[in-house]
């Protein structure tokens, strides 16, 4: 019975957690490269070197003694994002959209006092949000104004695009749309909606929330399918180049589309989740194996790899 279930998963080309860890992450991601993606500051510096656009960096708080100085560093910026440099799963991130009477207004409209912000920074520095519980840094960077292409299927917050890149080739993609339940955050485990993207055409497919498939956004009620993702080829290229940048063979690339600046690299993930398969109604394994059989010469440049993905991973038109 169980074996048959396993077989049907295998037949659907589903990548399981154990196989992802053993045969992809452990095999293609060198331990020494992990810090490059686990620390968002390092990722930012690296992106700068490779000419990949990222949200602007305003300030970094590294020590408890510097917490008091964060406001001076902000000058009169009204909006910014506060996040831990080594946080995982979107935890510890606060989006500030305005400042009023010495208080800060968050994305969801909540008023936060200066003391609360300081407390939060102190938490970040203590490592409470960091992946290994190590001491951390607090990063303050520019707020993103999302392109309105996903406006109708987003409940507050910033939607982001996740692309799984295997050996430099974009293998699967989805866009993560915040919902009321996810509190404006684009994290699937908090209840955000994941919508698959047809790599070949740059158009959205159906969605997933938690483990169930959906076709309409739960809050706005708009259809998820067939939204054309702008800058699609550019995003695929950024994704393909992330592998050259980090040396990681199995990678999750998170991008946002800014109204003014276009696609920006938000962060990289050396242990990307498997939910993307549900968003695409498709197992990853088949594509990973296709990439393993791809002709050698396409691995030479990121442009060729992105083009190969567009050519090979188009959904059959329905």
């Amino acid at each position: 019975m169980i074996l048959r279930q396993f077989l049907s998963l295998r037949k659907a080309g589903v990548l399981g957690m154990n196989r992802r860890n053993a045969e992809y992450i452990m095999r293609f991601n060198r331990r020494s490269s992990f810090p490059l993606v686990d620390d968002k500051l390092l990722t930012k510096q690296l992106s700068l070197k490779f000419g990949i656009p990222t949200p602007p960096l305003y300030h970094v708080v590294s020590h408890h003694g510097d917490i008091a100085g964060f406001e001076r560093a902000l000058v009169d910026r009204q909006e910014f994002v506060l996040k831990p440099a080594r946080g995982g799963g979107g935890s510890g991130i606060i989006l500030i959209t305005d400042r009023r009477d010495g208080k800060f207004v968050t994305q969801s409209g909540k008023m936060i006092s200066r003391d609360e912000i300081r407390y939060h920074i102190s938490d970040i520095l203590s490592g409470i949000y960091s992946l290994e519980g190590l001491e951390d840094k607090a990063v303050i960077e520019g707020l993103i104004h999302p392109d309105q292409v996903f406006g109708k299927v987003t409940y507050e917050g910033v939607p982001d695009v996740r692309i799984i890149v295997y050996r430099g080739i974009p293998a699967m993609a989805m866009v993560r749309l915040p919902t009321r339940q996810s509190d404006g955050k684009a994290n699937l485990h908090r209840g955000a909606v994941g919508v698959g993207i047809d790599i070949g055409r740059g158009k959205t497919l159906d969605g997933v929330r938690r483990s169930g498939g959906i076709t309409h956004h739960p809050d706005t009620g708009e259809l998820l399918r067939d939204i054309e993702v702008p800058f699609w080829e550019r995003m695929l290229l950024i994704a393909a180049r992330s592998t050259d940048m980090t040396g990681l063979g199995y990678l999750g690339v998170d991008l946002v589309i800014d109204k003014n600046d276009g696609p920006l690299l938000l962060e990289l993930n050396a242990r990307p989740g498997l939910q993307i398969q549900i968003a695409n109604r498709k197992g990853l394994l088949e594509r990973l194996e296709m990439i393993d059989r791809a002709p050698k010469e396409i691995f030479l440049s990121p442009e060729k790899r992105a083009a190969w993905a567009i050519q090979n991973f188009a959904e059959p038109s329905s």
């Binding site: 154990n18 196989r19 860890n21 053993a22 109604r281």
Partner: protein, 512 residues
């Protein structure tokens, strides 16, 4: 499967099973933990009354069982507490000496577990000089005795012994003694009593003799020891009942406690009121009893056995050896089944703690502490404490909760509550913090699911490590750790699906 890991795993299995094989085939270890050995429990309670002034030292001496051929004292325990207990070998006997200055007179008790192993009967030792007690009676009585037994000089030793024993009942084997001798003999018997008269007769026939106090092994409670006489036939000891002269058949098991005339229990500095011995048959797993063989063996693996280390350290290893079983379970439950848990090894520590609290109490306390701790954590959230003091605060709260539980337990006599201190408090505190963060970030349902997963894994692990034979098996065959390492290598190479993924990817599995 990656080849090197597979080979390494096979190598580990080979090491484990060849060591076990060696123990089973060459050293004769039992393979099945269910086989039972013949074991007797002896409990002795001595009641006395102090005499004279207060503060006078009391000394109680009692003959105790000792290991000898075919019989091993597996365990002995002094349960009296206030008196100092020493073992004192005295000639053939093992004397227990209790001494001290007890507040009030009273009772002392002692318990021994004796393992009978008739198959392992070593060749009986020929008697030493202590088996030739001083000649009893005057010269003329000696001469009568010698004349009486001389008529059986041609008989074999065992037959001669039977003939002499029969005289206690007044039966004289052919040829009959003359009336004069017989008359003199019944006078001697009257004078010394049946037991001593029998010894005189046996000594006259040059048999080495021992007077023995002890017990015939039947389930019983006694206030007087059985007495018998042991005589050496040249090959083995024969035992007869002193009062009747009846020979004990071989099927009867005897537990000697004292050889010679010394009373079995004496009290100086006090008045002996009563001694109560109780004998009960016990079932003891055969593996535990293997301690006996192992302790004396000179074989390599016998000497390198955990049975050879002192008792209090053995206890530690009994628990330590459970940890690998526990972590193996965790690996299976997480990587093959796919349970979500707080922290990786938290459930193992919980499972170990459940051994003292019991499963339902343990889970209840776990749930209670985490719930109250969560509410507390919510309460202090607005105080904006720094991380380390905050976690320390939670740890202190957990210890406080333990203290309250223990006090409640002692008030109502619930041992399970008092054992609460064995729960892993640091892990519990971290669980509270993680639970709080998970509720904040992913919602209560995810947090509760993870908590339930942790509890389930802890409960399953507990059930597995509670299997007594399994525990004992690891203690007897610590080389099984190699097998666990082999299994972990295999598990570490498992790249198949988790059971939980059947549900997670149901949408995908349904389609072709």
């Amino acid at each position: 499967m990656k080849r090197p890991a597979l080979w390494l795993a096979v190598a580990f299995f080979l090491v484990a099973f060849s060591l076990i094989g060696y123990r089973v085939y060459r050293l004769g270890y039992p393979l099945l933990p269910t086989s039972r050995a013949k074991v007797w429990g002896l409990t002795m309670e001595i009641f006395w009354e102090p005499t004279g002034k207060n503060g006078k030292e009391i000394e109680v001496r009692a003959g105790l069982p000792q290991s000898r051929s075919g019989q091993t004292v597996v365990e002995q325990r002094d349960l009296s507490g206030s008196l100092q207990f020493n073992l004192l070998p005295e000639g053939l006997n093992q004397i227990g000496v209790w001494s001290g200055d007890p507040e009030d007179g009273g009772v002392l008790s002692y318990r021994a577990t004796v393992l009978l192993n008739p198959k392992r009967l070593a060749k009986p030792k020929p008697p030493g000089p202590e088996s030739f007690p001083a000649i009893i009676g005057d010269k003329s009585e000696q001469i009568v005795a010698r004349r009486l037994v001389e008529r059986w000089a041609s008989l074999e030793a065992p037959e001669k012994l039977k003939a002499i024993a029969a005289t206690v009942k007044g039966i004289w084997r052919e040829p009959p003694p003359d009336d004069n001798d017989l008359k003199q003999w019944s006078a001697i018997q009257k004078k010394y009593g049946a037991e001593k008269a029998l010894v005189i007769l046996l000594r006259a026939a040059d048999f080495p003799v021992r007077k023995v106090q002890g017990f015939v092994l039947v389930e019983s409670v006694a206030t007087q020891p059985d007495r018998w006489i042991a005589a050496w036939t040249g090959q083995k000891w024969e035992h007869f009942q002193a009062e009747t002269g009846d020979l004990y058949p071989e099927s009867v098991c005897l537990l000697p406690l004292m050889m010679g005339d010394t009373p079995l229990v004496t009290v100086s500095g006090g008045k002996l009121q009563e001694v109560r011995w109780s004998l009960s048959k016990q079932t003891l797993s055969q593996w535990r009893s293997h301690f006996e063989r192992i302790q004396r063996s000179t074989r390599f693996l016998d000497r390198w056995s955990l049975f050879t280390i002192p008792n209090q350290f053995q206890e530690i290893f009994r628990i330590l050896l459970l940890v690998p079983i526990g972590v193996l379970m965790i690996s299976v439950l997480r990587n093959i089944v796919g349970f979500p848990t707080f922290g990786i090894f938290m459930p193992v520590l919980m499972a170990l703690a459940f051994r003292s609290t019991g499963l339902s109490y343990g889970l209840g306390i776990f749930a209670g502490v985490v719930l109250i701790g969560y509410l507390l954590r919510r309460g202090i959230d607005r105080l904006r404490l720094l991380l380390v003091p905050r976690l320390s605060f939670l740890i202190t709260f957990v210890i406080l909760a333990f203290t309250v539980f223990a006090l409640i337990g002692s008030k109502f006599g619930m041992r399970e509550f008092m054992a609460v201190g064995l729960l892993p408090f640091v892990i519990l505190s971290m669980t509270i913090e993680r639970f709080f963060i998970l509720v904040e970030e992913s919602g209560a349902s995810v947090a509760l699911r993870t908590a339930a997963g942790s509890a389930a894994v802890a409960a399953i692990t507990y059930k597995i490590i509670q299997i007594d034979p399994l525990q004992l098996t690891f203690f007897v065959y610590p080389e099984l750790l190699f097998a666990i390492m082999g299994l972990l290598l295999l598990l570490g190479n498992y790249s198949g699906y988790r059971l939980s993924e059947i549900l997670r990817f149901k949408v995908l599995g349904g389609k072709s």
